[in-house]
């Protein structure tokens, strides 16, 4: 959020909001600090995830192979293709909703979008952060290219997260207004049954369902999470409106 906020003040600097926002953030320099601090944290989280992944591999799967090609893989498989097809058919009323497993294909897409996004945005971001270093072995023009890639990819990420991703995971009428599983790591059993029938089946079949059941968080925690999620959601929508305004009405 802070990355998007500080970054977009620059990208859409020709709108009046950008200047106001930039002043609110304490000027372009402090906006820059926030941006880079958030970037470092984000890359840190990404690294932590990779490390976590490799730890998980050791603890639960043993080999990369098991992690990557097991039934709960994040990688796209033939099953995802079939589910995509099945889902389209379901959309069009020509078949039942596919029985999704651990991860649906759009969840996988979102996951890899972040993977790709962090790689692309992060690397170009570093180029823009240290142009003097990078131009020691790269032509200066690449800084211009990096600017475009960085900003457009960021726009893609921000735009996608706040529209398609929001809908897919939060605003879907059956989940409306949000799905807080991302913060809690838990979801109601009923919803789980409904959403991921294949995984549910699998868990029931091998009898481990009971092992996974936990109590719901106390209401206060849920409320805090909801407040946080609500504000994130509204800021996100603010962005979307700003982007649309900047692109359509104030574009120069």
């Amino acid at each position: 959020m802070s990355l998007a906020l500080t970054g977009m003040t620059l990208k859409f600097s020709y709108t009046g909001w950008a200047a106001t926002l930039s002043h609110l953030l304490g000027g372009f320099e402090s906006a820059g600090y926030i941006h880079r601090l958030a970037a470092v944290i984000m890359v840190g989280i990404f690294m932590a995830h990779i490390i976590d992944l490799s730890r998980k591999k050791r603890a639960e799967y043993g080999t990369w192979r098991a992690l990557l090609f097991g039934p709960d893989t994040m990688l796209f498989t033939k099953k995802d293709l079939a589910e995509l097809w099945g889902n389209i058919k379901w959309f069009l009323g020509r078949g039942p909703r596919p029985d999704y497993g651990r991860w649906t294909y759009w969840e996988k897409f979102d996951y890899f979008a972040v993977f790709w996004g962090i790689t692309v945005i992060g690397s170009t971001g570093f180029m823009l952060w240290f142009p003097e270093f990078f131009t020691r072995f790269m032509p200066g023009k690449l800084i211009n290219v990096a600017t475009i890639i960085h900003s457009d990819e960021a726009l893609l990420a921000v735009g996608f997260i706040f529209t398609v991703h929001f809908f897919n995971t939060h605003l879907r009428p059956e989940k409306f207004p949000m799905d807080i599983v991302v913060f809690t790591g838990r979801m109601p059993l009923e919803e789980f049954m409904h959403d991921k029938p294949a995984e549910y089946e699998a868990l029931v079949n091998n009898g481990t369902l009971e092992d996974h059941l936990v109590e719901s968080y106390p209401p206060i925690v849920i409320r805090v999470i909801r407040i946080f999620a609500w504000s994130a959601l509204s800021i996100g929508f603010g962005f979307v409106i700003w982007i649309i305004y900047a692109m359509l009405f104030a574009y120069r």
């Binding site: 200047a19 930039s22 000027g27 200066g140 475009i148 890639i149 457009d152 009428p173 838990r186 789980f192």
Partner: protein, 673 residues
């Protein structure tokens, strides 16, 4: 002097020879006394009539026609039409020599069509001696003769550079002119007395009768012993610095206005003060006070000037010496140069048009109390000037209401400007104030090409103080001398404004200047705003490269110029001002890059469109996916809802949204992940 010798030979031999052989004058008049006789001269048809009576009354009556028209001496009659012009020099060689060397003669040899030849002053067949009152060169006629060309509005005064104006009027009002024209004194000097008849030369020519070092000699032709009778002390100084060496008379007595001399004729200020000292002394006509405070005068700049020097028409022989005064005081009688500047200025023109709004000298300088501009009490002291000019030029005052241009609130703006603050707040008397830019006496509108604030002259005007900047500017691509552009080039005020000039190191100015550059360099400015530098500036921060940080401010030069800040030699150093680690490759960064130009920046263009297509494709696919999902999802929600809300079926869907949303997590056990 070969000419003189030739003409002597001609005189001695040719004339009698011609007379004996050629036609009698009567032969010529056989044809030429016909008033309808026409001939061709060049392309023009002119009368060839010669008045025999006029000729026989002329000084040349005793000469035969071929004595002058020498080429006709032996021709058969009737002769051919292309007759040579008469050369007066065959007899009047010395006059011809003088004329040839004079301004008039030089103009003739240049082929100037306005240049006078012998006949233009003397006539042709009817030449009369100067003694003859009917002669055009008789003393009484000379001013009219010279005035034919040298009067206001004639082609000569309009098309040729003559540094004196109103020569004839001034002369006729001068004591010389009055003597000649009003009193009929034919010994009074005419034009030719000072300028000579044939040897007319500019005063810059050392041989001229009116050259500075010759003036005294010219005047003493008549005023032979002036040093014996002239007042010795004038304006508190001996005018004759060295004994028997006269200074140039025109230093005090203006050439054509010799009337306006400062005879005090025994008039003393005390004579004037007899009446004017009375505080309630009033004009009988309109009741205005005529009281003169002696104190004003003795503390003024004119302390050594007597009343009659300014109020010059007094006549000491009258009981009321001032009753002969008809004119207002003319300051230009002494302050001639300033007076001339003023007359050409907007102020002077208004007064000449009798416009009541036009300021005269006294509006700014006062009357008897006038002080020098270096006196802090003077209204023309630098710190008082803005207040002085504001009397008319403040918004709503008489000058401001007439003004139709785009400079408004000039007084307030000036006061807030860096110049105004320097003058009014910091009390720096060297700071630019109104008259530094607009001049004191040659005030003219910007549109006038001789105005100090005309586009053409502005760099020089600002350069009077900002000399170093002017130097840089004159070498830059924006200077008229350097640029070959046919577009209007910027001058100082295009970027700095006229009356709202701000400090160049002020935030506001720094941001403002970019839009100033962008007024002409539209595309370049737009592409600048596509880059990081531009975007940060656009957010209102100055700590980033702006136009002048890279291009320079006054010394802007094309990149191809090795002296440019952005030339190959200098560009890395320019980047290093902000990016100390900058290298040659770093300087390859495109500071005006745009992804909208496939010709100039193909890689940026394609990167942009590559990214944009990726973006669009993702959104379209995601969007369609979502839209398709929507109806199903709604259906699904209804199913879930109906299942859940069976026990409370009376609640309708909408109302349930929140309930089910918030109730669900708490009520149900959850699978952990």
């Amino acid at each position: 002097m070969p000419h003189r010798i030739v003409s002597l030979i001609v005189l001695v031999f040719a004339v009698p020879f011609a007379q004996s052989i050629a036609q009698e004058n009567s032969d010529c008049f056989m044809c030429h006394d016909d008033k309808s006789l026409k001939g061709k001269r060049g392309n023009r048809t002119v009368s060839m009539f010669v008045d025999e009576k006029e000729f026989s009354g002329s000084v040349h009556a005793s000469l035969s026609c071929p004595s002058c028209h020498m080429d006709l001496a032996e021709t058969e009659l009737p002769h051919a039409e292309d007759v040579e012009p008469v050369d007066c020099g065959i007899c009047h060689s010395s006059e011809q020599e003088l004329h040839r060397a004079s301004l008039h003669g030089k103009a003739v040899s240049r082929g100037d069509p306005l240049a006078p030849r012998c006949k233009d002053c003397h006539g042709t067949h009817g030449i009369l001696p100067a003694r003859n009152p009917r002669s055009p060169v008789a003393p009484l006629k000379v001013p009219y003769l010279c005035g034919r060309c040298h009067q206001e509005g004639s082609p000569v005064t309009r098309q040729r550079v003559i540094h004196q104006d109103h020569i004839l009027e001034n002369y006729s009002e001068s004591i010389h002119g009055e003597g000649l024209l009003k009193k009929g004194l034919i010994v009074a000097p005419t034009c030719a007395t000072c300028h000579t008849s044939h040897s007319i030369l500019p005063h810059t020519d050392p041989a001229s009768s009116i050259a500075r070092r010759n003036i005294a000699r010219t005047c003493t032709q008549c005023h032979a012993e002036i040093e014996a009778v002239h007042r010795k002390v004038i304006k508190g100084e001996l005018w004759e610095k060295k004994e028997h060496t006269l200074p140039a008379c025109v230093d005090c007595h203006q050439p054509h206005k010799a009337r306006k001399v400062f005879y005090d004729q025994g008039m003393s200020d005390l004579d004037c003060l007899r009446c004017h000292e009375e505080p309630d002394f009033k004009a009988s006509r309109d009741g205005r006070s005529l009281f003169v405070r002696l104190d004003d005068l003795t503390h003024s700049r004119h302390v050594k000037t007597s009343c009659s020097q300014c109020h010059s028409e007094v006549n000491a022989s009258r009981l009321r010496p001032c009753e002969t005064i008809t004119q207002l005081v003319d300051c230009a009688a002494c302050h001639a140069e300033v007076g001339q500047q003023y007359q050409k200025s907007s102020h002077g023109k208004l007064v000449a048009e009798k416009d009541p709004n036009g300021p005269t000298c006294k509006e700014c300088h006062g009357t008897h109390q006038t002080l020098g501009k270096s006196d802090p009490k003077s209204p023309t002291f630098p710190t008082n000037i803005p207040t002085l000019c504001a009397r008319c030029h403040r918004e709503g005052e008489k000058a401001a209401t007439r003004y139709l241009g785009d400079q408004h609130d000039i007084v307030d703006h000036y006061t807030e400007s860096i110049h105004g603050k320097g003058l009014m707040k910091s009390g720096l008397t060297v700071t630019a104030m109104c008259t530094n830019c607009h001049t004191a006496h040659s005030v003219l509108p910007r549109s006038d090409s001789t105005s100090s604030v005309n586009r053409k002259n502005l760099p020089a005007t600002c350069g009077k103080c900002h000399h170093g900047i002017e130097d840089q500017f004159e070498r830059s691509i924006h200077a008229a001398s350097q640029s070959r552009s046919d577009k209007q080039l910027p001058v100082c005020d295009d970027c700095h404004s006229a009356h709202t000039i701000r400090r160049a190191d002020e935030e506001g100015f720094k941001l403002h200047i970019m839009t100033q550059c962008g007024r002409c360099h539209e595309d370049i400015a737009r592409t600048y705003f596509d880059t990081y530098h531009g975007k940060v500036s656009q957010l209102g921060y100055t700590k980033t490269a702006k136009c002048y940080d890279c291009h320079g401010a006054h010394d802007i030069l094309p990149i191809s110029d090795p002296r440019s800040h952005l030339s190959r030699e200098n560009v890395v150093a320019t980047c290093q001002k902000c990016h100390p680690g900058a290298t040659r490759r770093f300087a390859g960064y495109l500071t005006h890059a745009t992804h909208h130009d496939p010709e100039k920046y193909p890689f940026l263009f394609w990167t942009f469109w590559g990214m944009t297509s990726l973006l669009i494709v993702t959104f379209v696919v995601g969007g369609i996916h979502t839209l398709l999902w929507l109806p199903r999802a709604m259906q699904m929600r209804r199913q879930v809802r109906s299942k859940k809300s069976l026990p409370t079926a009376q609640d309708d869907g909408d109302h349930n949204k929140d309930k089910s949303g918030s109730a669900a997590p708490a009520d149900n056990p959850e699978p952990g992940t």
